[in-house]
Symmetry: C2
Subunit: 338 residues, 2 copies
C-alpha cells in the first residue's frame, strides 16, 4: 500500500516550526540557524520526505539529468564508455538517462525525442549503423540544449564530437601486417555509413597504396561484425588466398580466427590476424590478438567532463569541432611470425 506523500507541513507539525521555516531550512537559507537546519534535515529524512527535484527543476529549468543514446548497451566497448560517463556525471551530481537504438534509426529518432521531452540538460549520442539523415537532432541545437557526439559521429554536422583517428589507426594496423610480409590482406568491417568503419577502410586502402599493393574490392567483407559473422567470414579465407585478416572489432576477429584454425589454417604462419578495440577477449584468445587500444572508459570520462565544463560555462563546446583521443597499436602473437 502506497503511503501518503510527506510534505513540509508534516515536518513543520512534527517539529513545531512554521512551514516556511522548514522550507527555508531545507534549502539551507541563512535565516535558519545551522542547528535548526540539521534538525529539519534529519527529521525530513526519517519521515521519508522526498525533496521535490522535479518541482525544483521546473523552477530552475535544469533537471540535472544527462541523456545518452547508444547503438547497443550490450557491447564491451560501449559498456566501458558508459561506465566512464556515469563515473564523472554521478560525482558531479548528475543523473544519467540511457537508451539504445538497437542499430535502428527509427528507434534512435524515438529515443532522441523522448530525451528532449524529458528535458535533459544535454545529450550524448553515438549513432545507429543506418542513420543517414540527422534532422532529429535539430531540435537540440535549435533550443540550445548541448549535444555531443562520441565514437560514431556524423560526417558533417555542426555539433562537436569526440572520437579517435580511425583512419590513422587502421593505416598502422595494415602497415604492420604488410611489414610482417602480408600481400593479400582481407578487411572485415561494418556499415560504411558510419565514420568508424568508413575511416578504417580508408586507412587500410592508404596503407596498401603506400606499399604499392593493389586494392581489390573482393578483399573487403562488410557485415554486422558479430561473433556469428566472423565464423561465416572464415570460410572465405582459403578461396581468397588470404595471408592476413584485419577485422574492425575484436569479437568478430576472435571468432573468425578460431574458425579459421578449425578449418586447418595456422595462425600466424598461414594467415595473420588483427582486430580493433583491445577488448578483454583479444588478450585471452590463442594466439593473442594484435589490436588497437581504444580507450572506452577514457572516451566516456572525457565526453562527460567536456559536457560538464560547457554546462558550467567554463568552456564553449560549440567552439570545438573534433576532439580526438590517442590510440595505440598492440602487436601480439596473431601477427608475429616466428
Amino acid at each position: 500500500m502506497k503511503g501518503k506523500e510527506i510534505t513540509i507541513y508534516d515536518i513543520a507539525t512534527k517539529l513545531g516550526l512554521s512551514p516556511s521555516t522548514v522550507s527555508r531550512g531545507l534549502k539551507g537559507h541563512y535565516t535558519v540557524s545551522q542547528k535548526t537546519q540539521r534538525k529539519i534535515a534529519s527529521t525530513a529524512e526519517s519521515m521519508g520526505y522526498r525533496f521535490n527535484t522535479f518541482a525544483a527543476s521546473l523552477r530552475s529549468s535544469r533537471t540535472n539529468t544527462i541523456g545518452v543514446v547508444v547503438p547497443r548497451l550490450n557491447s564491451y566497448f560501449m559498456s566501458q564508455v558508459i561506465a566512464g560517463i556515469e563515473k564523472v556525471l554521478s560525482e558531479a551530481g548528475y543523473n544519467l538517462l540511457i537508451s539504445q537504438s538497437l542499430e535502428d534509426v527509427n528507434k534512435e529518432i524515438r529515443n532522441v525525442k523522448t530525451m528532449f521531452n524529458s528535458r535533459v540538460d544535454a545529450l550524448l549520442v553515438s549513432l545507429a549503423s543506418d542513420t543517414k539523415e540527422l534532422s532529429h537532432f535539430d531540435v537540440f541545437t535549435e533550443r540550445g540544449v548541448p549535444l555531443l557526439f562520441f565514437d560514431r559521429i556524423p560526417g558533417k554536422h555542426t555539433a562537436p564530437a569526440i572520437s579517435i583517428d580511425n583512419e590513422q589507426a587502421a593505416y598502422e594496423v595494415t602497415k604492420h601486417l604488410i611489414q610482417q610480409g602480408a600481400k593479400t590482406i582481407i578487411h572485415i568491417t561494418g556499415n560504411q555509413l558510419r565514420n568508424v568503419y568508413a575511416d578504417r577502410l580508408k586507412g587500410y586502402k592508404r596503407a596498401l597504396s603506400a606499399a604499392k599493393l593493389k586494392f581489390s574490392p573482393d578483399h573487403v567483407i562488410i557485415n554486422d561484425l558479430s561473433e556469428t559473422s566472423g565464423i561465416a567470414a572464415a570460410a572465405k579465407l582459403k578461396a581468397l588466398k588470404a595471408d592476413a585478416v584485419f577485422v574492425a572489432n575484436d569479437s568478430c576477429a576472435a571468432s573468425c580466427m578460431k574458425e579459421a584454425k578449425r578449418l586447418g589454417l595456422r595462425v600466424p604462419d598461414d594467415v595473420m590476424f588483427a582486430g580493433f578495440n583491445n577488448d578483454m577477449i583479444s588478450r585471452n584468445v590463442e594466439p593473442a590478438l594484435t589490436t588497437v587500444d581504444y580507450p572506452g572508459i577514457e572516451m566516456g570520462e572525457l565526453a562527460a567532463r567536456n559536457l560538464l565544463a560547457h554546462l558550467d560555462e567554463r568552456i564553449d563546446l560549440n567552439l570545438m569541432k573534433d576532439i580526438l583521443l590517442k590510440t595505440r597499436l598492440l602487436v601480439r602473437e596473431s601477427s608475429s611470425k616466428s
Copy 2:
C-alpha cells in the same frame, strides 16, 4: 544561444486557435477534431515545442522513469541485463535512469537516495559486493515505491527478487568435474556477502560431499574475480595439485586457464577448467570453456516485465518472494578428457 521556450500560446497564435484548444488538442481531447489535433501536433513539432513531461508527471505523480542501480556497468553480464531492461521499458514508454555503485556500499547508498529524490516509479537493484545492511532501501518500501532485486539479491529481505539457483548450478558444474575424474577441485569465487558467490560455494561443497570427497578451505580462493586475479590464481594450481578449477565467472576463468597453460599445465589433461555465465569469451578461448549458461538479457527483460505488470496493477510483486530463472550446464573441451 538558447532560444525562448515555445509555449502553447505561440502555437495558438501561429494557428489562429485559442490556447485552450491547443492544450486540449495536444492531449488528444475528444472536443478537438482529429484533423485539428494532427495540425496542432505537427505545428508543435515543427516549432520545437517540448511537451512538459515534468509538469505532467507532477500532476499524475508518475514520472515514467525506472531507476537501475548495478555494481558495475562495464561487465559483459550486466550490460546484457541492462540491454534487456532497456528494450522492454522503452517499448512501454518508460525512461531508464542508471547508476553504478562501483562495488562500494557508500556509493550505492548515495545512488539509491538520488533515485528516490528523482522520483523514479520503481527501482531495480543488483547489490555491491560489500553491502551488508539494507536500510537504505527502506524509504522505498515505506513509501510504496516498487523495489525489485536481481542477480545479486539480499539474503533476507521482504522485497521480491529475480535470480538463478546458484547453488544448484554450481552443484552441477562440480558434479560434472568429479564425473570426469577430478579429485582436487579448486573453487575460485568472490565476496561471500553476496548470494551469487556464497550459494555457488554451497553447491560446490554439496557436490564434493555427495561424492564423498573431503572439502578443504585451502581449495577455495576468494578474490575480486577480475582478469588479473585469474592470472595470479594460476600460479597456485601446481602447489595445490589441482586437477580441476571451477571459477565463479568466465573472464577470470579464461585468464586463469591461459596463464596455467603458459606455466606448462595441459588443459584438460593435467587440469580441467569450468567457468560461469556463458560470456562471449568462454566460446572463443582454447580449449573452449565449460560454463553455465546464465541468461543476462532474459533476466533483464523478465525483471522489467514484472515491474511493468506491477505498475499496471496486473500482478502484485509483493506476493512474490523469488523468481528463479533456468540455467544450463554447457560442457566444452576445457573439461572433456580425451
